[in-house]
Symmetry: C2
C-alpha cells in the first residue's frame, strides 16, 4: 500500500471571518480586525491544529464599500512579527503588493520577519487591482493589468536577488583580526531592468529559510504564468473538482516548461466551510449567516468583484446581463468565475451576490466534519489540489471547529501530520532551503 499524500492546510485569517455579514453574528467580536489578543488566540489555535500556515490578505486603500473586516486592520508585517512571538511552528504568510512598493523595502521586511520567526515567513505576491489605490500613492493612473504583472515579475526577481546579498557564512566576526565579514561573500545585485534599478546589497543577513516561501494567487493568464514561474504555494478559487483538476494540471505543466519540479508547488484552493454536527445543523448555520447580508451591501460587493460594473438598473431577481470582461480592470479570473457560475446554474443577481458576498467566489462547503474530510481527501487524491486554504465564514468558531473536529479525522486517516516535523515553513511544505546563487 502506498502512503497517502499528506494534505497541506492554511488558514486565511480575516477579522470576524470570511462571510461578509459575520460581524453581525451574535457571537462575533465585532472589533476583531484590530484586536491583537484575538489574533493571538487564532494563531495559537491554528498552531494547535498543526496547520502549515496562517495567511493574511492586504489592501492599500478603502473605497467605502469595503467589507467591515478589512476596512481597518493591522499592517501585516507588524502583526506577523507580533504573532511570531506567541507561536513557534506555524508559517506566517502575508500579502504584499508589488504595485505600490519598492523591492528593497519588501525584501527587507520579509527577511526580517523570517529572522524574527526563525524561518516561518511567506510572501503572497500580488498586484494591486483596485484603481483607487493609486490615489493614495501620488499616482495619476492605475497600471494596466499586463503591465502590473510585468512589474510584479521583475519585482520578485529583484527581491530574490536581494535575499542572496549575503552568503550563509559571510559573517566571520573574528575579534582578534578585526575581520567582521568576508567581502567575497557580500554581493551587490546591480539589477537594471524596465521598472527597477537596485544595487544592493540588502542590509539583512541571509534569512533562516534562505528565501521566505513565495506564494501566488493570480489566476488570469498572466497570473498563472507568474505563479508557474515563481510560486511555491498557489492560492486559487476553485468551485468544482473538474475545473480544479484542469487548473492543477495546467499550472504543473507550465511549471515543468519553466524547468521547475511540479512537486515543489503546492496548489491550495480556498474553501469556505460551514461545519455542523449534522448536515441540517450546517445548513441552518449557513442560512443564519446569509440572512444577515444587507441587500445593498451584497450588491455592492458583487459590483466591486466585477470591477465596479453598475448593476443597479437590473432587477435583483433577474439574470446577470452579458458583461464585457475586457472593459473591466477587475481580476480577470474572478470575472470569469462569476459569469460561468451565473450561466451554469441560472443564478439571479440576488443569488449571485449572496454567493459572492458570503464566500467571495471561493468554494462553499456545508456539512459535517466527516464530509469535509472526505471532500478534502477526494480532491487531493484526484489531483485537483495539494491542500486547502481554509476561509472560516465565522471566526473564531469556524477555526475552532476545524481544528477540533476535522483535523483529528484527517490525522486518523493518515493524511495530515500529528506533530510538526520541523520549525520552518519550507520544512512544512517539503521545500529545500534554496542555495544562494553566489555560493560555490
Amino acid at each position: 500500500m502506498t502512503k497517502k499524500k499528506e494534505i497541506k492546510l492554511g488558514v486565511f485569517l480575516a477579522g470576524t471571518g470570511h462571510h461578509v455579514a459575520s460581524w453581525r453574528h451574535p457571537e462575533a467580536p465585532a472589533d476583531a480586525s484590530m484586536n491583537l489578543d484575538y489574533f493571538k488566540e487564532l494563531a495559537q489555535t491554528a498552531e494547535r491544529g498543526k496547520l502549515d500556515m496562517l495567511f493574511l490578505a492586504d489592501s492599500l486603500s478603502i473605497d467605502g464599500k469595503s467589507h467591515p473586516n478589512v476596512l481597518t486592520r493591522f499592517e501585516p508585517f507588524t502583526l506577523l512579527s507580533a504573532l511570531a512571538q506567541v507561536t513557534a511552528h506555524i508559517g506566517l504568510t502575508a500579502t504584499a503588493s508589488t504595485t505600490y512598493s519598492e523591492p528593497f523595502h519588501i525584501a527587507r521586511q520579509f527577511a526580517s520577519l523570517d529572522h524574527l520567526s526563525n524561518g516561518r515567513a511567506g510572501w503572497n505576491v500580488v498586484t494591486s487591482s483596485i484603481e483607487s489605490t493609486a490615489l493614495n500613492f501620488s499616482g495619476e493612473e492605475h497600471l494596466e493589468h499586463r503591465l502590473r504583472y510585468q512589474r510584479a515579475e521583475e519585482f520578485v526577481e529583484v527581491v530574490k536577488g536581494l535575499w542572496d546579498s549575503w552568503e550563509e557564512d559571510a559573517f566571520i566576526r573574528d575579534k582578534e583580526s578585526g575581520e567582521f565579514f568576508d567581502k567575497e561573500k557580500m554581493h551587490e545585485l546591480n539589477h537594471k531592468g524596465t521598472y527597477f534599478s537596485v544595487r544592493g546589497p540588502l542590509n539583512v543577513s541571509r534569512s533562516p529559510q534562505g528565501r521566505p516561501v513565495i506564494i501566488q494567487a493570480g489566476s488570469s493568464g498572466d497570473g498563472k504564468a507568474l505563479a508557474a514561474k515563481t510560486a511555491e504555494v498557489i492560492f486559487t478559487a476553485q468551485n468544482h473538482m473538474e475545473s480544479a483538476r484542469e487548473f492543477y494540471q495546467s499550472i504543473k505543466e507550465q511549471a515543468v516548461s519553466f524547468g521547475r519540479d511540479p512537486e515543489k508547488i503546492a496548489i491550495m484552493p480556498g474553501i469556505f466551510p460551514i461545519i455542523g454536527d449534522t448536515e441540517e445543523e450546517a445548513k441552518t448555520k449557513y442560512e443564519e449567516l446569509q440572512d444577515l447580508i444587507i441587500p445593498s451591501v451584497g450588491l455592492n460587493i458583487l459590483q466591486n468583484y466585477l470591477g465596479g460594473i453598475d448593476l443597479s438598473s437590473y432587477p435583483l431577481d433577474g439574470p446577470l446581463p452579458e458583461l464585457d470582461a475586457e472593459a473591466s480592470n477587475a481580476v480577470k479570473s474572478r470575472f470569469k468565475l462569476v459569469q460561468d457560475m451565473a450561466k451554469r446554474d441560472n443564478m439571479t443577481i440576488r443569488e449571485l451576490y449572496k454567493y459572492v458576498a458570503g464566500s467571495r467566489g471561493h468554494h462553499i462547503f456545508v456539512g459535517t466534519p466527516e464530509q469535509l474530510a472526505d471532500k478534502m481527501e477526494e480532491w487531493v487524491e484526484n489531483q485537483a489540489c495539494d491542500g486547502f486554504n481554509i476561509m472560516p465564514p465565522l471566526l473564531p468558531e469556524g477555526l475552532n471547529l476545524f481544528v477540533d473536529k476535522v483535523i483529528p479525522i484527517l490525522q486518523d486517516r493518515g493524511v495530515f501530520r500529528k506533530e510538526y516535523e520541523g520549525t520552518t515553513l519550507r520544512k512544512h511544505f517539503g521545500l529545500e532551503k534554496p542555495a544562494n546563487r553566489y555560493a560555490e
Copy 2:
C-alpha cells in the same frame, strides 16, 4: 521648595553598542545586530529601569564602510512589533526615512505598531543623507539637502493627516442595524502638494496615542526648523553645556514662533557613557575600547561622517585640513561639529577619528555613576536639555550598569520616576493625546 524637573531618558539600541569596535570586546555578543533574544533582553532591562523609550536608528543601504553593528540588522517595524510583545510600558521608537518611502506606508506602519504596543510608538523622522541609498531605490540622483527637508515636511503633514482618517468613535458596529461605522467620522485627506498627492483614508483605525510621538534629529538650519515645527522629542549631538543651552533656547524660541508650547518639546542630546566604579576604572574601560579601533576603519568612519571627503593624503597625526561644508552632501550639523572640535581642541586626524568613530560625535562621558547623575542633573537644571538619549558604548554591559547604578541615584534625588505612571509614550513625556482635526 519647588519640585525638581524630571529627566527624560531614552536608550539608543545598536548591536553590540555605540563604540565602533565594541563587537571586538571579549564580552560582546558579536552577532547582536540580528539576535532577537538579545534585543528582548535589552528592551526588558530598559523597562526595568523605567526608561521613557528605546530608540532604533535605521539605514536603507550598505556602503561597505558601515559599522559592523549596522551592516545587517532587523527592519525596525518588525523588530519593535516583536519587542512590543515582551514589554508593557517602555516607548518603542524607530527611525523611518521620508526620502525613499511613501507617506501611506509609513503612516500605516506606525499606526499599526501603536495599536500592537497599546500606544507606545514614536517616529524619528529623518531624511536619507547617504547618496548610495538612491541606488537601491531606482533613483539616479540623490535629492539635495534642502529638497529632502521640503519633502520631509510635506511627508510629515501627510502622515499626520492620515492618522486623523478615523475619529475615535467612528466605529459603531451596530449588529442590529448593520451600521458598522459612521460615515461622517471617516475622512479623506485629499492632500495635493509638491511631492505627494494622497487621498486617504488610512486603513488603520485611530491609534491609541491618537498620533505616535514625532521625534526629530536634524540639527542643520533646515533640520532645526523642521524639528521646532513638528517634533515632540528632539535628539541632538551636544558636547558642551554652553552650546547645548544655545541649541535648547533656539529650538524652544522657534517652537514658540510656530505657535507651539515649548514645554511640549523634549530636547535629548545623545550621551555616550563609560561608567566605572571609580574614574580610573572608567578611563581604563574607555582606553580598552579605543585600542580596539582598527586605524583604517576609524579613518573611513571620519571620512564618511564628513560626507565622503578623502583624507587619505593627510598625515594621521597632523591637523584636519580646511574643508568646504557646502561642497559636501553630509549632515551639515555633524560637519560643523567635527570642524569646531578640531579647531578648539587642536585635534589630529587620528584623535578625531578615535573620537568620532567611538561616539560618532556624541557627548562622551567617562566616570562614576554619581558623576554621571551629577552631569545629567546639571544639564537639565541649566536648561541645556530635558533629558538624554543614552548611547551605551558596549552592550548589554553599558545598559545594565546604567539601569542598575545610575537610575537608582536619579530616583533617590527625585529627578527620575520610580514607577511608570502610564502605559503610553505620550504619557511618559507628559504629552496630551492630540485631538482629531475633524472632531468637534
